[in-house]
Subunit: 303 residues, 2 copies
């Protein structure tokens, strides 16, 4: 069961942090951008090369500190198919360095279509009886608005592969409450309905740490709700975005862990990737700055 | 305002049909597959070429019958970045034939990330002060579970471009009710909450036909809910999947149109793409079969 793999890696590195790889060209230091543009021109090809070099530097600097990385698909799709090609390379490179890769795709669709996504991102596409892998992440994020049809195909694809998924439950953004906090006739909030539906869909897939294959996304910006959800969903592993740039603190995210200190991983994207913007060295130290920020975050979370 | 463009095209062709381009390799006739495998081998590259040839044939056969096509991103992501490259080509080719292209991506994320998606799919990515387009669809589908943050960036990207978006409200799949039908404390179903939130977010963007830039997905398999939503959301254009293979009929979808006969487009994917499977000619007639199916669907919807 795949959250075992992630929990093992967290314990091994003594660090429940996932580093976001949110490939905005503005986050890449000038010297890397200029070298890439000199080779490929100012445009999509140049931006893709610059971000690739940045990602490789970040992965090299972080791979012995953090257990996992989370590339956000939007920043790769932003650059069209060439961005997606670089995303495939980034996932493969991170895995080659021993990192657990959570592809932040937030997909969700009807059963047949969810199967096609699950094959592309996790188990590989069947073509004339053979299976061909492409994105090949360890884990994905999902949106369950369409119900269990949109989640189950991912669990099926993940099952034979020791992979897993996180379903959006209570997200970190300011507008998350507009739908997720709506109260139902039986007194629950929609995020509770979603969390309980999700835990029930994956019931029976618990691994050695007691978590099912279907985790939940619970934003650090809503610590009360994390606390409530931790009690409500004892078998659900949490992915916690919103620490750092979005405002969540170590005190906020502590509620995401169970009494054994298991069951959650906290994301930081800009706080690590863009740490070079605060050292006054024009990004020449981007890798060292990211590494130092990741170490500081680890120590903050463990304190 | 972009639903004006789509409504104009529907009236021009006298056909409220969008043809799905759901690129499963199993849907491609053997003679096309064999030619592609002979050139590129059995694998992702061969499958991508086969589906491309199939898509071109379908677009050529349908472009004077239907006003729009809807490629489902999942079937392209299924084949990794090479599938996405072919999706870019497919969108560009369909547009060159005068078709309105709805990229069925069902994306949804926090504001900054939604902006990255919106740039990739609609308005283009800004790189060093220039804008570079990639997928460049006319319209996308979105998932609003995360609230208005996840919808507004698409409306902003769409605004300068005469483009638009459809947000999932009541979907066609069997499990759609698990979340969407949950009753709130004030007696509404969640799909009503989502539909009303969506109409309010886009208020003020109504075009000459009275529809905002943010349409809604309402499945043909739930005709009662379509009827209810048509009354509840007078300014919302509907995308109606679920006709044909999923069980929806012309009688079911008639409720999606307003009293002027405007405000909805009905999708058929397998019913058109796979029409060749029912003619006994091994797919040699796939283009003619698709065209005949699209004409039959048009006549069914208009009858």
């Amino acid at each position: 069961m795949s959250f075992d793999v992630l929990q093992d890696k967290i314990l091994e590195k003594n660090n429940p942090t996932v580093a976001g790889l949110d490939a905005r060209i503005e986050y890449v230091p000038q010297h890397i951008r200029q070298a890439a543009y000199a080779q490929y021109g100012v445009g999509i090809k140049g931006a893709v090369e610059a971000i690739w070099q940045f990602n490789v530097g970040l992965i090299d600097a972080l791979c012995d500190i953090v257990p996992a990385v989370k590339p956000q698909a939007a920043y790769y799709e932003n650059l069209g198919w060439q961005g997606m090609e670089m995303l495939e390379r980034t996932i493969a490179y991170a895995k080659s360095k021993g990192l657990f890769v959570i592809a932040d795709i937030k997909r969700g669709d009807i059963g047949s279509t969810a199967t096609a996504y699950a094959e592309g991102w996790l188990s590989g596409a069947p073509i004339e009886g053979q299976v061909f892998k492409s994105f090949d992440a360890d884990c994905v994020t999902l949106n369950g608005y369409m119900g269990s049809d949109s989640i189950k195909p991912f669990l099926k694809a993940a099952q034979g592969e020791d992979k897993c998924a996180f379903v959006l439950v209570k997200t970190s953004n300011p507008g998350s409450g507009e739908l997720q906090d709506v109260k139902t006739a039986d007194g629950r909030a929609i995020y509770e309905v979603m969390g309980q539906l999700n835990e029930s869909i994956a019931a029976g897939t618990e691994g050695k740490y007691g978590f099912t294959m279907a985790g939940a996304v619970t934003g650090a910006t809503y610590p009360q709700q994390i606390q409530q959800l931790r009690a409500l969903l004892p078998h659900t592993f949490f992915l916690v975005p919103g620490y750092g740039a979005q405002g969540g603190t170590a005190a906020d995210v502590k509620f995401a862990f169970n009494d054994k200190g298991h069951g959650a991983i906290v994301n930081s994207s800009r706080g690590i990737m863009c740490a070079w913007q605060k050292t006054g060295k024009d990004g020449l130290d981007f890798a060292e700055a990211a590494r130092n920020a990741a170490i500081a975050m680890r120590d903050d979370l463990l304190s």
